[in-house]
């Protein structure tokens, strides 16, 4: 029988594994489009501008579907981990607020205006709008990555013993500490550069595939630029990913243990039972490193060859790398929803005693925050499992449909800028 925790983790992991590649692409395109346009205007080469204009079509589609899956994640979090989501919402509300303000209220009009105003306003003003769009899109991961960093290491959170609280304590937050979370900056920067690198590889794969039947300058130019983007930003991503792993090793024992398969050296053996992860994900970690190296080789080869097989392989491998790295990052903190910081243990023990400290740690586990006795969906699924199995079938169908829609969008016919201008 599948446990409630498995259901919750499985559904949330599925939604994230679809959502994240889409939003990575949005972020990557957000920075690449105005940059390509700027290069085009500087070099007086329309092909760069056409590349930007063409890919702006995909930005809207991917943004919409990515947004949909963001909503799905919120519903899963609220439905499956209500107390966790409530705590995260109540404590980090400015983070959610800023993310949504930029994600919807500012980024959406920017995307629409950027797309609509192509060729209609002064070129450099259009580039500025494009960079405005990129900044607005970047604020979204800048905020949400703080929540991920918070899960690794809840910097700034204060625990107060309170007998009136159902769990024996209440939480407060010290905002001066929140953004100083040591795992935050490397995670955010790895995300930003990883998104640009991944988008570069996706574009390169598609243009490489198409070049076999359409040997135009447009395809060739798109292929070459995107390969350089893949290489440069891929290397920068690897550096920040390494730095992130180092910070995680120092500050988040459960995550480090899960990824590296052994407890960090600084962790006292008396706390092994507290910080032991549910899953050892070293295999995934090694696979990701291997995927990164293979991709690097394929990118280097792509400077010499334009080959359909290499293009297809890169497209599959980069999505696999990105998704598995994110799923690893998302699952490594289990059994905890929020990993208790090691530095807080001595203070809590000296102030309130060992028993209370263990109680706090236990409360931060997914299985506790899931509160099965207060979780309507988990309870309903336990008596009507068909609801879950039926849902999984429908989700699988929609995944297939989604892939088809993305394929259709990518293979869509397009009117080049030159013809549009002629038309007008």
């Amino acid at each position: 029988m599948v446990s409630a925790t498995d259901i919750a983790v499985g559904l949330i992991a599925w939604a994230f594994s679809v959502h994240l590649p889409l939003v990575y692409t949005v972020l990557g395109l957000g920075w690449l489009l105005p940059t390509l346009e700027l290069i085009g205007y500087r070099r007086n080469n329309q092909v760069y501008v056409d590349l930007a204009h063409n890919m702006a079509n995909y930005l809207i589609t991917v943004y919409a579907i990515g947004g949909l899956f963001g909503t799905i994640i919120t519903v899963f979090l609220a439905g499956l981990l209500p107390i966790f989501t409530n705590i995260a919402g109540a404590l980090l509300w400015p983070v959610w607020g800023v993310a949504i303000a930029f994600g919807v209220a500012i980024a959406l009009p920017f995307i629409g205006f950027y797309y609509r105003s192509f060729g209609r306003i002064d070129p450099m003003k259009h580039v500025v709008i494009g960079y405005g769009m990129a900044v607005a899109l970047t604020v979204i991961p800048a905020m949400f990555r703080l929540v991920f960093a918070f899960i690794n290491y809840p910097a700034g959170v204060e625990v107060f013993k309170d007998e009136t609280s159902l769990v024996g304590f209440t939480l407060g937050i010290n905002w001066s500490q929140v953004f100083l979370n040591p795992t935050y900056a490397p995670l955010f920067l790895a995300t930003l550069f990883g998104a640009i690198a991944m988008t570069g590889i996706l574009i390169n794969s598609i243009f490489g595939w198409r070049y076999a039947i359409d040997k135009s300058e447009y395809r060739l130019m798109g292929y070459r630029i995107s390969n350089w983007i893949s290489l440069v930003f891929g290397v920068v991503y690897a550096l920040f990913a390494g730095l992130y792993l180092y910070e995680v090793y120092l500050y988040s024992p459960t995550v480090a243990w899960s990824i590296l398969s052994k407890p960090p050296a600084y962790l006292p053996s008396s706390l092994y039972s507290v910080y032991e992860p549910t899953m050892i994900l070293t295999g995934v970690f090694y696979m990701d490193v291997a995927l990164g190296i293979i991709l690097l080789i394929l990118i280097v080869l792509s400077f010499r060859f334009i080959n359909r097989s290499i293009s297809a392989l890169k497209l599959i491998l980069v999505l696999l790398l990105m998704t598995s790295a994110e799923v690893m990052n998302g699952l490594a903190h289990l059994p905890y929803a929020i990993v208790p910081p090691l530095s807080a243990v001595p203070k809590l023990v000296s102030n309130y005693g060992l028993q209370f400290t263990l109680q706090v740690a236990n409360t931060l586990k997914v299985s506790t925050l899931l509160t099965p006795e207060l979780n309507a969906l988990v309870q309903l699924v336990s008596v009507q499992p068909g609801l879950l199995y039926g849902s999984l079938v429908i989700f699988a169908i929609f995944n297939a449909l989604l892939l088809y829609v993305i394929y259709a969008a990518l293979s869509w016919k397009w009117t080049p800028q030159i013809l549009r201008v002629e038309k007008q």
Binding site: A78, A105, L166, T371, N375, L377, S382, L419
Partner: protein, 467 residues
């Protein structure tokens, strides 16, 4: 004097939420109304092969997509409003009312994936019936989404059977991590399906009909305006669909569903009834009009608004929204759309009377402005009556008072200890900023529709080549 509990929430937060929900409702309504019109028009094209219906269907399918896109983005804004302002509502979702949200995900998936398929495959799918079926599936996604969200809203006004609200603080002196005093749970896991009990269905269909009435009234007014100016026969063709539908739905809304909804309020929330009906007295008193509508007699007594303590009462202004906006404007909408329908559907009969022609001219010209006005204000009146009428509680239930006084009203309060985020800092400038965004987004959708309609002929002629 005893301290009175604070059950309500600060006004600025309530205003921000109310405007946001109304703005989202306007976008969602526009999507539902326009996608329905698109599939009706495509059906008529399949039946009659008239190019006008094809163009109408195609145009409204694109317009519906614009409203859907902006509406979905706005939905995310509303959702985050819940997380940040009313953060404890998130706990309540997981504890009990998650099922409609969960099922809504499937509706949302249908909308996001099938709607673009419908819009982008005009002329690409040769079998028009197949294309129409895709449209129906897309529309189903939208209506099923509305069904589920309205089920949640219904539960806020009328606690579904089997749902227990537990005030932890009263029962045990405890709270949930210092955030809320309340937990809710079903008596049995299977009771989660009671989110769709018959009372909820009345509420849901009341809302869905209102949506169609509102949108089709506005579209009818636009076509009416054009028809008065150019008298093109195709305008009359579509008016013969839109106006009578509005009239019939308004009648069903008023005489059937509205009445059932009123009976539910009478049964589940006598305080809301008192506020809506404007029964501003204390204790039991006979109200002949309400008595007649509720029981068919003139001598039934009702508890007055002042029978309950101040902190439990909803705002008194809801009676204006109920009576003036919802009831009176709803009746006027029925009269205007009904009169115009008779003129359009039976011209041969009414053409013989000069008074009928004069009346028809009056209704035709005034309907351009009055039909959307009546429909909009009736809808706003209904929404505000329903949502402000239950204030300061959600998941409202009335139980007999053991001491013989007015029924005891219980629920989860929206204020501190209830739904409100206890860590929230919400200065006025932030409220104003959010309000600007809330008003700007529907305006953006309307502007995008305008741009689409203005650019339509050019787009039709554009060449498509593959690079």
């Amino acid at each position: 004097m005893m301290d009175q509990p604070i059950l309500g929430a600060p006004t600025d937060i309530r205003v921000v939420s109310a405007v946001g929900i109304l703005a989202h409702l306007s976008l969602a309504s526009s999507f539902l109304g326009t996608i329905l019109l698109a599939i009706v028009a495509e059906f008529l094209y399949i039946r009659k092969h008239n190019q006008f219906w094809y163009n109408t269907a195609r145009t409204f399918s694109v317009i519906s997509t614009i409203f859907f896109g902006v509406g979905a983005a706005f939905g995310t804004l509303v959702e985050f409003g819940l997380v940040t302002l009313w953060s404890n509502f998130i706990s309540l979702i997981g504890e009990a009312i998650v099922l409609p949200f969960y099922l809504e995900l499937f509706a949302f998936l249908i909308e996001v994936i099938i709607l673009p398929l419908y819009v982008f495959t005009w002329n690409k799918i040769k079998n028009q019936v197949l294309h129409w079926i895709i449209g129906i599936v897309a529309a189903f996604g939208g209506y099923y989404s509305a069904y589920n969200i309205l089920a949640v809203m219904a539960s806020l006004s009328m606690r579904p059977p089997g749902l227990e609200v537990i005030n932890l603080y009263q029962a045990t002196g405890q709270n949930v991590v210092g955030l809320t005093d309340y937990v809710i749970k079903w008596a049995s896991p299977i009771d989660a399906w009671n989110m769709f009990w018959w009372g909820a269905n009345v509420f849901i269909f009341h809302g869905i009909l209102a949506v169609v009435i509102l949108t089709w009234s506005i579209i009818a007014a636009i076509y009416l305006y054009l028809y008065i100016h150019d008298r093109k026969p195709e305008r009359l063709m579509i008016l013969k669909i839109l106006v009578p539908t509005v009239a019939v739905l308004t009648a069903i809304q008023g005489f059937v569903i509205g009445h059932l909804q009123g009976e539910l309020v009478l049964q589940d929330d006598p305080l809301k009834l008192a506020a809506l009906e404007g029964m501003f007295w204390s204790g039991l008193k006979i109200d002949p009009l309400t008595s007649f509508f509720a029981y068919g007699t003139f001598n039934h007594a009702f508890w007055g608004y002042f029978s309950w303590p101040t902190y439990e009462r909803p705002p008194a202004f809801v009676s204006v929204f109920y009576w003036v906006f919802m009831v009176i404007f709803g009746i006027l909408l029925g009269i205007w759309s009904g009169a115009l329908s008779l003129w359009y559907l039976f011209p041969g009969f009414f053409d013989r009377f000069s008074w009928a022609k004069t009346l028809a001219s009056f209704f035709e010209r005034s309907s351009v402005y009055l039909m959307p006005f009546f429909a909009a204000f009736a809808s706003i009146g209904g929404a505000v009556s329903a949502e402000s009428g239950r204030y300061p509680f959600i998941l409202v239930q009335a139980d007999p008072n053991p001491s013989g006084g007015p029924p005891v009203i219980t629920g989860v309060p929206v204020g501190p200890g209830g739904l409100l985020n206890p860590t929230l800092y919400f200065p006025v400038w932030l409220a104003v900023l959010v309000l600007i965004v809330e008003i700007a987004m529907p305006s953006l959708a309307v502007y995008m529709v305008y741009l689409y309609l203005r650019g339509m002929p050019r787009r039709e002629e554009a060449k498509v080549v593959e690079y």
